[in-house]
C-alpha cells in the first residue's frame, strides 16, 4: 500500500445486509478515498451503490445538512439560537435539567430514543442502561417501533423469537420464496442478489405486492393485491392449505399447538369469498398456497409492507402460520425472514433499547431478570414496561395530568421530525416538550426543536459491533479521526450519567460489550475475539469457546423458543385499513424507499454521487391512467394532499403502480411524505400505518413558479441546517433525467427539466432564516 494510505476492514453503515467493506484511507488528509467489497458472510465481496459511494458525508460536503462539531445549548430558552458551549457545560446543563424534571414529575417523565444506525450495539447498551439505571425508567425505544416492531411482537407470540429464523446466504438455496410486502431491490440490494440467484438456481417465487417490484417482475406468481389486504390473503392461503390437505400433519402435531381452533376460525376465509376484497382471482390464491406448501424449503421474506399496517402484528403471525402449517421451520433454507431495514436495528433490539426488554430479550417484568440487572447495575429498576416512542406525541399533547406527561425527550441519532408519521403533530409535540436533547452527527429537523445539541462521532470514526438482519454480530472499525469535538455516543451518555450522580465509565467498546455479554446468555459466546476470527457471529451463541460458532438458522428440528417449545397457530380476523379512499381523497398512498438514499437522508443526502443520482423533491409514482385524468405527466411538480397535510413532489407515471395507488419515498425533505401519513397505530406493536392512507393529487398550472418555490424551499432548509448558501452551491432540484423512472415519457421530462433548471436557477432566492414554528406556513407553498 502506498505511503500515507491504510486499509480498514469494516461493515457498511447502510441497511441490515451487513456487508463487509474494505476502506482505503488517506491518513494524511484523514479521509476515506475508496470503498471496495470485502468477503463477508452475507455479501461475498459485493456491495451496492450506497456501500461503494456512500461515505463522503464524513468530510461534510454540506449538500443537505451540516456535521455537528461542538456542543450547543439554547441559552435563552425555547426559540433562542443555539450557542456553542464546552462539553463540560453541555453535560452539566443536560444533567441538571433532567434532574429537575425527574424531581418534579418523576423518572417516567423522561423518554429516551436510541439509535439503530451508526453508534452500534455498545452505544445502544449504554443508552438503555442510562435510561433504566440512571434516569430510572423503562421509557426507552428506537426506530424499530416504526418499522419491524410488529415482526418482533408477532414472531415472539408465534415462535418465541423475533428475529429472522433464516440467514441471508440460505435464501439462495430456497426452493420457493414467498415474498410479501418486501422490495429487496430497493431496501437490501445485497439480499435481492440472493433472491435473483435463487431464481437462477430454479427456485419458484411468489410475490405479494400491490406494485410491480423487481421481485414481482421475475415472480412465478405475482399476487397484485389491493393495498392493506395482507391478512385476508394470508388467511385465505391458510384456508386453502387446510381445505386441500396441503398441511404437514406430522409437523403440526409434533411441533405446534392450537390447530383445531385455528382451522375452525378460518372458516370464512375461502379464497372464493375473499377474492373480491383482495383483488386477485381465487384460483391464483389457491395456486400460491399450493406452491408454498409444495416444498420444505420455502422461505418467507417480508418487510415494511407487512409491518407498517395497523394489523402488522396479526399479519406477521399469519405469515408464520403458513410456515408452521407446512413444516417450513427448523432446518436449513426454510423459515421466515423479517428483513431488518437499518444497519443496526436488529442490534438495537438485541441491546434492549425497547421499553419491555433488557439486553438479550430478557423481560423487564420478569423478576428474575430484573434482579440480575439490579445487582449488576447497583440500582432498583422499574418493573413495568415503558412507553413506545410512537405514543410520545400523545403523552405530550393530550395527556392532561402533568405527572403523566413526557417532559424530557433525549434522542440519539434519530430524526422523528422527518421519519415519524403525521409530521405536523410531531412538530407540535417537540415544541411543547419542556426539554429536548439531540445527540447526532448531523444537524437535522428535530434539532431545530432541541434545547441541547450534542455532537457524536459517525460510522467510520469509532469502533462498534453491528448486528446484521440475520442476527450476525460483526465488528465495525474506526477508519478516521472524528470531526471537531465529537465524542462517541456511549462516552456522552456515560458523562451525563456521571454528572447526574450515577457514575458510568468505560475505556473501550470491548469493555461495554463484555459487560453486556455477561448479562445476556444468548450473546455470551460472541466475544470480540471470535468475531475477529470468524468475521462475525450469529446469535444465539452461548459459549465463549471457539467450539460454539453461533447459529445459522433458528428452531433446529422444530423446537421453538416458546416456553413449551411449540409453535402457536394463532388466528386473527382481517380488518380493513383505517383510512379508505373516498371521493375527496380518491388515491391511496403507500410509503416506499429510494435505493440510493437511506433513512432520513442525513447521510446519503450528503454524499455527492448518491445525491446526483436522485435529489429533492422526489417522486410520486402513479398509474398513467390516473395521471391522464389529472392531466399530468412524468416530471411535473404536483401537490399531494391528505387530511393531515400537504407536500410537493414530482409525478412519475408508471404502469408498475396499480390504478388508484400511489407511492412516495420517505427520504425526501422537500417532498416529505410523512406530512401526509397517518398516526394510526397497530394496537400491539404501536407501529404506524405508513403503508396506507388516502390522498389527493393536485396538478399545478404554473410549473415554473412551482419549480422556483421548490428550489427556494430547499435552500431555506439548507440554511436552517446551518449551511451558508451562495450562488455557487445553490442546488437545482430539477431532474435532468428520468433514467431510473419506470416507463418515463422521456422527451417531455427532458424538456420540462431543462426549462425547470434554468428557471429554478434564475429564481434562486437569497437564503432566509426561518423559525421552525413557521414550518407549517412554508409547507403551504
Amino acid at each position: 500500500m502506498e505511503q500515507g494510505y491504510k486499509t480498514v476492514r469494516t461493515v457498511c453503515p447502510y441497511c441490515g445486509a451487513g456487508c463487509h467493506i474494505a476502506l482505503t484511507v488517506d491518513t494524511v488528509h484523514n479521509r476515506i478515498v475508496k470503498a471496495t467489497g470485502a468477503n463477508g458472510r452475507t455479501n461475498e465481496g459485493r456491495l451496492c451503490l450506497k456501500g461503494y459511494y456512500g461515505w463522503d458525508y464524513l468530510t461534510d460536503p454540506q449538500l443537505l445538512t451540516k456535521r455537528l462539531r461542538y456542543p450547543m445549548i439554547r441559552k435563552g430558552g425555547k426559540g433562542s439560537p443555539l450557542e456553542r458551549v464546552s462539553w463540560e457545560e453541555a453535560i452539566q446543563y443536560t444533567a441538571e435539567r433532567l434532574q429537575a424534571i425527574i424531581k418534579e414529575y418523576g423518572p417516567d417523565a423522561v423518554m429516551g430514543a436510541g439509535s439503530a444506525r451508526g453508534p452500534g450495539n455498545e452505544a445502544g447498551y449504554i443508552t438503555q442502561k442510562f435510561m433504566r439505571a440512571c434516569i430510572g425508567t423503562n421509557n426507552v425505544d428506537h426506530c424499530a417501533r416504526i418499522c419491524h416492531a410488529a415482526s418482533v411482537t408477532g414472531l415472539r407470540a408465534s415462535i418465541g423469537e423475533g428475529a429472522m429464523s433464516v440467514s441471508v446466504p440460505e435464501i439462495e438455496d430456497a426452493e420457493v420464496i414467498f415474498n410479501i410486502g418486501y422490495n429487496a431491490a430497493t431496501s437490501h440490494p445485497i439480499v435481492a442478489r440472493r433472491v435473483v440467484k435463487a431464481k437462477a438456481k430454479g427456485a419458484k417465487i411468489i410475490c405479494v405486492d400491490p406494485q410491480i417490484t423487481e421481485t414481482a417482475r421475475i415472480a412465478d406468481i405475482h399476487l397484485q393485491i389491493k393495498g392493506g389486504t395482507n391478512l385476508a390473503l394470508l388467511n385465505a392461503m391458510a384456508y386453502t392449505m387446510i381445505e386441500e390437505g396441503l398441511v404437514d400433519e406430522a409437523f403440526v402435531k409434533a411441533h405446534t399447538e392450537g390447530f383445531e381452533d385455528y382451522a375452525k376460525a378460518l372458516g370464512g376465509y375461502a379464497p372464493e369469498a375473499m377474492a373480491s376484497i383482495i383483488g386477485v382471482p381465487a384460483e391464483m390464491i389457491r395456486r400460491a398456497a399450493r406452491l408454498f406448501a409444495s416444498s420444505k424449503h420455502t422461505v418467507t421474506l417480508w418487510g415494511m409492507g407487512i409491518t407498517q399496517f395497523a394489523q402488522g402484528v396479526d399479519s406477521v403471525i399469519a405469515c408464520s402460520n403458513l410456515s408452521l402449517l407446512t413444516g417450513n421451520y427448523g432446518h436449513r433454507a426454510t423459515g421466515v425472514g423479517p428483513v431488518r431495514g437499518q444497519n443496526n436495528v436488529q442490534g438495537t433490539c438485541d441491546m434492549g433499547v425497547l421499553p419491555d426488554v433488557y439486553p438479550g430479550y430478557q423481560r423487564v417484568d420478569d423478576p428474575k431478570a430484573r434482579a440480575k440487572f439490579e445487582k449488576a447495575w447497583g440500582v432498583t429498576l422499574p418493573a413495568t414496561p415503558g412507553l413506545p416512542l410512537t405514543l410520545v406525541p400523545e403523552k405530550i399533547l393530550r395527556e392532561t395530568d402533568p405527572k403523566k406527561q413526557i417532559h424530557a425527550y433525549y434522542i440519539v441519532g434519530e430524526d422523528p421530525a422527518q421519519s415519524d408519521p403525521d409530521l405536523t403533530e410531531i412538530r407540535e409535540a417537540l415544541s411543547a416538550c419542556d426539554f429536548v436533547v439531540i445527540q447526532d452527527i448531523f444537524m437535522n429537523k428535530t434539532a431545530e426543536f432541541a434545547d441541547v445539541v450534542l455532537p457524536a462521532t459517525a460510522w467510520g470514526e469509532h469502533d462498534a459491533v453491528y448486528s446484521s438482519c440475520d442476527r450476525g454480530f460483526q465488528r465495525v472499525r474506526k477508519a478516521i479521526e472524528p470531526v471537531g469535538e465529537a465524542w462517541p455516543d456511549w462516552k456522552i451518555q456515560c458523562a451525563v450519567a456521571t454528572a447526574m450522580g450515577y457514575p458510568m465509565s468505560y475505556t473501550s467498546t470491548q469493555e461495554i460489550w463484555d459487560e453486556m455479554r455477561s448479562l445476556s446468555p444468548k450473546f455470551y459466546g460472541a466475544t470480540y475475539e471470535k468475531m475477529e476470527a470468524l468475521g462475525g457471529v450469529q446469535w444465539p451463541c452461548v459459549d465463549p469457546s471457539m467450539e460454539d460458532r453461533g447459529t445459522e438458522y433458528l428452531h433446529e428440528g422444530g423446537t421453538f423458543a416458546t416456553e413449551n417449545g411449540k409453535g402457536r397457530l394463532l388466528f386473527a380476523p382481517y380488518k380493513p385499513v383505517h383510512e379508505e379512499v373516498d371521493s375527496e381523497y380518491p388515491l391511496s398512498l403507500c410509503t416506499v424507499r429510494e435505493v440510493g438514499h437511506y433513512s432520513v437522508r442525513t447521510m446519503t443526502g450528503n454524499c455527492r454521487m448518491l445525491s446526483k443520482l436522485e435529489d429533492e423533491p422526489g417522486w410520486i409514482a402513479m398509474n398513467p391512467a390516473d395521471c391522464k385524468r389529472l392531466g399530468i405527466t412524468t416530471g411535473d411538480l404536483v401537490y399531494v394532499h391528505s387530511r393531515r397535510g400537504k407536500t410537493i413532489t414530482r409525478c412519475l407515471a408508471t404502469e408498475r403502480a396499480k390504478e388508484g395507488a400511489t407511492y412516495m419515498t420517505y427520504q425526501w425533505w422537500v417532498g416529505a411524505c410523512n406530512e401526509l401519513t397517518i398516526g394510526m397505530l397497530d394496537p400491539k406493536s404501536r407501529t404506524p400505518e405508513y403503508k396506507y392512507c388516502a390522498v389527493r393529487v393536485e396538478a399545478i398550472a404554473d410549473q415554473a413558479a412551482a419549480e422556483a418555490k421548490v428550489s427556494e424551499y430547499y435552500e431555506r432548509l439548507r440554511t436552517r441546517m446551518g449551511i451558508t448558501v451562495n450562488d455557487k452551491n445553490a442546488k437545482a432540484t430539477a431532474k435532468t433525467d428520468t433514467a431510473g423512472a419506470a416507463n418515463g415519457t422521456m422527451a417531455t421530462a427532458h424538456a420540462k427539466a431543462a426549462m425547470a433548471t434554468t428557471q429554478a436557477k434564475a429564481a434562486m432566492a437569497t437564503a432566509v432564516t426561518m423559525n421552525p414554528a413557521k414550518e407549517r406556513e412554508v409547507r403551504s407553498l
Binding site: 459485493r46 451503490l49 461503494y52 430497493t186 440490494p189 435481492a192 442478489r193 437462477a200 443520482l613
Partner: protein, 175 residues
C-alpha cells in the same frame, strides 16, 4: 470481434449502481473531494424500466457500427476491440446519436469551453479501472463483459445445451 457489455434482465434489480460506477470510473477519485457542483454526473450506461422489464442500455460496440458510419469527421472509429471516440474530432453534429438504434449515444454536457460532444461507453479503456466498472460493481452480477473468450464460452455452452435438448427429444437423455 469487438468486446461488449450486456445486462441480464433476470438478474437486474434496477439499483443503478452501474450508472454511478461508470461516472466514478471516468471522473476518477477526485470526484469525492471536489466541490459537489463541479462533479459531472453523466453515466454512459442507463437502467431503463418498463412495466415488466428492467435492463441496462449501453453501447453494443457494433461490428458495423452505424455511429461510426455516419460520423463525418472520423471521431467515431473502430479500435482493436471497441468503437472508440476522439473528442477533438467531434463537431457535435448528433448524427451518431440519431443513428444509434439503442439510444446508447448521448450528448455530453458542455465542457469548460462550452463544447458539446458525443458521449458513449469506452469499456473503461480510458479509466484506471481498465475494464468495465459497471460489470465489476454490479451487486447481482447482472452485467457481463463479453471479451473474445467469454463470447466463445457462451457460444460453446449454448451449443452443448442445444445438443442436449436434441438428445432429450430423441429420447436418449443420459446416453
Amino acid at each position: 470481434m469487438n468486446y461488449f457489455v450486456k445486462g441480464n434482465p433476470m438478474l437486474c434489480i434496477g439499483c443503478r449502481t452501474c450508472m454511478v460506477a461508470c461516472v466514478v470510473a471516468h471522473e476518477g477519485p477526485s470526484i469525492f473531494t471536489m466541490h459537489p457542483d463541479d462533479a459531472d454526473f453523466q453515466p454512459r450506461i442507463k437502467v431503463v424500466k418498463t412495466k415488466t422489464m428492467t435492463k441496462t442500455v449501453q453501447c453494443h460496440q457494433c461490428e458495423n457500427a452505424p455511429c461510426a458510419a455516419v460520423c463525418p469527421t472520423g471521431a467515431l472509429y473502430k479500435e482493436a476491440h471497441h468503437i472508440a471516440f476522439e473528442n477533438e474530432q467531434c463537431i457535435g453534429c448528433k448524427q451518431c446519436m440519431m443513428a444509434c438504434p439503442f439510444g446508447a449515444i448521448t450528448m455530453a454536457a458542455p465542457d469548460e469551453k462550452g463544447r458539446r460532444v458525443a458521449h458513449k461507453c469506452d469499456l473503461c479503456t480510458s479509466t484506471a479501472e481498465g475494464a468495465p466498472a459497471c460489470v465489476s460493481h454490479c451487486p447481482t452480477e447482472a452485467l457481463t463483459f463479453y471479451t473474445e473468450d467469454v463470447q466463445q464460452q457462451s457460444l460453446t455452452d449454448k451449443q452443448v445445451r442445444s445438443v442436449r435438448a436434441a438428445s432429450r427429444v430423441a429420447g436418449k437423455e443420459g446416453v
